[in-house]
């Protein structure tokens, strides 16, 4: 089983709708930005192996499939 630590509720609780760079262990937020572009700008390439990026969802809205082709 990959990445057994699946509960991100507490670590991302104060980052609603943000892009975050979590530690590989997903136990702490290293960077948090409003956009992916801003996050990548601050993230050094040498640190790519140390993080995992997530888009934290909106805490109220439900997700629906967004992209059916025209």
């Amino acid at each position: 089983m990959q990445d057994l630590k699946n509960d991100l509720t507490e670590v991302t609780r104060s980052h609603e709708n943000k892009w975050v760079a979590l530690s590989k262990e997903t136990d702490r937020v290293i960077l948090s930005e409003n956009t992916l572009a801003a996050l990548l700008k601050k993230l050094d390439r040498k640190d790519y192996d140390k993080v995992i990026l997530f888009k934290v969802p909106d805490f109220e809205y439900c997700y629906a499939p967004p992209i059916n082709q025209v």
């Binding site: 990445d3 995992i52 805490f59 059916n68 025209v70």
Partner: protein, 152 residues
């Protein structure tokens, strides 16, 4: 030798109660960690990022920024228009990439959108064609079994 399967856990995020779900305190999301590489130069790769497995998406689609950091010039001659469920159209561009899932690398493709999507999505073409996908919401487990031989 048949390829083994790989299992991931759903990711759990905080979610506040709503009128529809007054007792909800969290949600499970079918996010798995992946990264992508430039097909011509695999040393150009992205950080690992959470991508949503979405069988309702016709193809994999990622934010343009992820393509740019692996050296892609997003706007090419492989334009694919999309429309959201709310009817808001946007354009994306198809590119050949390498997709790394749990250490397995696959030559595949994905669309990259300059706008219109909030998070990376793994869809039918580009992902579901690579794997037999079993999603067990109750057990909070996603199991992937490759249909094709990985690059390594």
């Amino acid at each position: 030798m048949p390829l083994q399967s790989i299992k991931f856990k759903y990711r759990r995020f905080f979610s506040g109660p709503t009128q529809a779900f007054p007792n909800r305190h969290s949600i499970l999301v079918s996010l798995i960690p992946v990264n992508i590489m430039n097909r011509d130069n695999p040393e150009l790769r992205s950080p690992v990022f959470g991508a949503l497995i979405d069988s309702g998406a016709d193809c994999s689609i990622f934010p343009a920024e992820l393509g740019e950091i692996i050296g892609l010039t997003i706007q090419n001659d492989r334009l694919q228009p999309f429309a959201g469920i709310g009817g808001h159209p946007f354009d994306a561009y198809l590119h050949d990439i390498i997709l790394d899932v749990g250490g397995w690398r696959f030559a595949t493709h994905a669309c990259f959108a300059l706008e219109g999507i909030k998070a990376p999505v793994l869809g039918q073409s580009g992902f579901f064609n690579l794997f037999e996908v079993k999603m067990d919401y109750s057990k909070e487990v996603i199991e992937l079994k490759p249909r094709v031989q990985p690059l390594r």
